[in-house]
Subunit: 484 residues, 2 copies
Amino acid sequence: MHKRFVTNIISRILLIICFVMTLPLAWAVHDDLYSKETQSFTITICFGIVISCIFLWFFRIKKEDYKKINTKDGLAIVGLSWICLSIFGAIPLWLSQVVSSYTDAFFEIVSGFTTTGSTIFVDIEIVPRGILFWRSLTHWLGGMGIIVLYIALLPALGTNAFQLYKAEAPGITVERVEPRIKETAKNLWGIYFFLSFAETVCLLLGGMPLFDSLCHTFGTMATGGFSTKNASIGAYGPFIQWTIFFFMFLAGINFILHYSALKGRPKTYFKDEEFRWYFFLVLILIAIFGIVLMFSGGSQSPWRDAAFQVVSIVTTTGYTSVDFDIWPQALRFFLVILMFIGGCGGSTGGGMKFIRALLSVKIALRSVTQAVFPNAILPIKFNFKALSDRLVTAVLSYFAVFMLLFFFGAGLFILTESCDLVTAFTASIAALSNIGPGLGKVGATQNYAWVSMPGKWLLTFLMLAGRLELYSILILFIPATWRK
Amino acid sequence: MHKRFVTNIISRILLIICFVMTLPLAWAVHDDLYSKETQSFTITICFGIVISCIFLWFFRIKKEDYKKINTKDGLAIVGLSWICLSIFGAIPLWLSQVVSSYTDAFFEIVSGFTTTGSTIFVDIEIVPRGILFWRSLTHWLGGMGIIVLYIALLPALGTNAFQLYKAEAPGITVERVEPRIKETAKNLWGIYFFLSFAETVCLLLGGMPLFDSLCHTFGTMATGGFSTKNASIGAYGPFIQWTIFFFMFLAGINFILHYSALKGRPKTYFKDEEFRWYFFLVLILIAIFGIVLMFSGGSQSPWRDAAFQVVSIVTTTGYTSVDFDIWPQALRFFLVILMFIGGCGGSTGGGMKFIRALLSVKIALRSVTQAVFPNAILPIKFNFKALSDRLVTAVLSYFAVFMLLFFFGAGLFILTESCDLVTAFTASIAALSNIGPGLGKVGATQNYAWVSMPGKWLLTFLMLAGRLELYSILILFIPATWRK
């Protein structure tokens, strides 16, 4: 790892965050100039600027250093910068004493940046607005990606920017976007901004105040899940719920497809195999959930609840309009399965990603056919193109690592909390897939305040690993990463 | 598929089973000559002989037909013969009316042949001894494999016998045993017989009656789990429990290693990487379980219970000496994990097999290193040999198919039974891994009598798929298998 280079880039990203933090500061000032929040944000921003300037001075880099950056550095920059930003971003919560310990502050901010949406606040409605705005804003930053924002805003990373982009962008990068990486990053953030603006306007039209509209927009477009109400989206009427449903669904789609559609090629959506399956699965599941809820009588508005919860979980947003933990067992089961799958590649959704789940199923089915024809060469096709053996192994390895981390997380969680199996398993997957609510003691109407300190640190690790496609975090545990 | 050939071989195997069925008939006659059981066995045997002779006559094969057999035929013979034998083997239970429906009889016998050990009998101690002996005997036949027995006993399959052997023997066949396949089959059955004999003698010395000794030997050596007592092994004292513990541990080891050891090379055990990990894991887990049970005070004999249950679950035997469903949550969690892993390849144990779990972990860890060095070639080593890419893909595909079947099974089970999640998930893995007891409503002290008819058929499917390494059963759903 080129430590000088890595430190330099992380310091620059820290500077960006300091500037962004002036927005929640503005809310805090607007509400009460002499409040603890105003102080906390001011101190944090000053501290951040000083620290990053010192580091930038000591770890100066030259133009030729940019050429040295390799995949390892790319992964390390992404992994370390997310950790550093979370440590830094948690400071205002800690200083303003809205949380009881730094662990809680860190948990909340990691949950924000990774778009998980798990909260340790028992009563969210008494938390000052500056703090609420900041934690929702971390969703929005983390959703499309801070590194992608860096690439879009700052110059000079050059062609090596792809190494960084690849390490943070979710899903499998099938097309090589290398030559125009800066342009791609700009376009993605542009669409993200545009859709967010559209949602805010819709929510305002639905009668939601500006502050809540912004926070919920951040939570929706990033597939995060932080709300400003204790009842989450259940606190709002049908219009708001359908609006958020619609934008959650959009946020779970590959943003490259949105870009194509806005460029005047709306057919691109259905030309994409991943989107077709995503659309199809969501439709089928809403139908199943709706019918079951209608006949079981467990819901007053079965279709709205079905549509909202299916999309909320499959996109890994985690907003709740109703307590799905009391739904029939079969529906709870389907929700657990959806937790593993997650949104499409290139979306802001978490989980294993739709494309990987799809390819894993295809590869599994191929192995059955392969048993019948052991000598046949049976390529795996995606969007009519055959996948390389290397990519097949990569997809399966990812699946294996994901499942191992899931079991590992559930095992450690049960050791630290000695809770029931359903709580442990769903807490693990809810963190790893960046969803937020699970079942049982971490269910739709619950929160993570009761979790012990080691349990919270474990979950933050799972959240970061899940958001950064596992490897950016896991490589930090390998000695080879730290060698020059 | 060469239908004529496949039908012929299955008919021969049916004949073997008819002869074997004279043993439970003997017990039934010994107990009561005029009982329903005696009648049932007699009718079934006569029916079986007539049917198989008719088939053998209509589907005659010539010497040159043997050369035509391919992998597809091998898999189909194994899959179909197991289904046919289960259908046939269930008849005595059905005719003697010890069960209420044919579904129950079929479930019990599939659970027997596949060495699962799940039972639908609520009170096992009132079931006639002939029937009890037959269901325990199916364990013993299914443990080492009926096809392997066929290869060992009957001549003329020639070099193609390897196709059949491969399709039934559990785990990955690393060495090619093709040229001496008949000899291998004989040796394996020889050791199996020898160890079974040794266990019976030990149990007799421990004061267990002959009938119970034989039934428990069958259940142990095959890693089955059928007992003749309602309290399973909990009904016996420490000596019997330690004896069964020891032989369960042996049954979970690759039988090729036992063969080497008996040939005077006992060091072979520790030269084998899979055995080392198996030994190590069992030791560690017994230590953990023992310490937790000692301090939680949930057991009167913590070390014996720990040792017995860990080995019973990891070898997928499923005998219970104590109700582990009331143990601390962390221990229940570890038991669930063990359910996935299973015994060593080449043992009579079920599950994913130790070797596959081990290789999956190795491959997952490699992918982390690969992220740091994307262009490096990092071979996966096992017993100091590098694995081919083909085998790596095969192991990962197996892992994916196994997990998909597990989720599929749990999903359908919850739809048919609308039970809780823990019951559904553990019922699915307990069937797929051929264990028997799960947790919750299928826990250590429970049975499968309450499961609905569709649920029972689902579980039999999972048991067969799990025992026959998935593909022998799954290929039957592919049209290509049935084409000539």
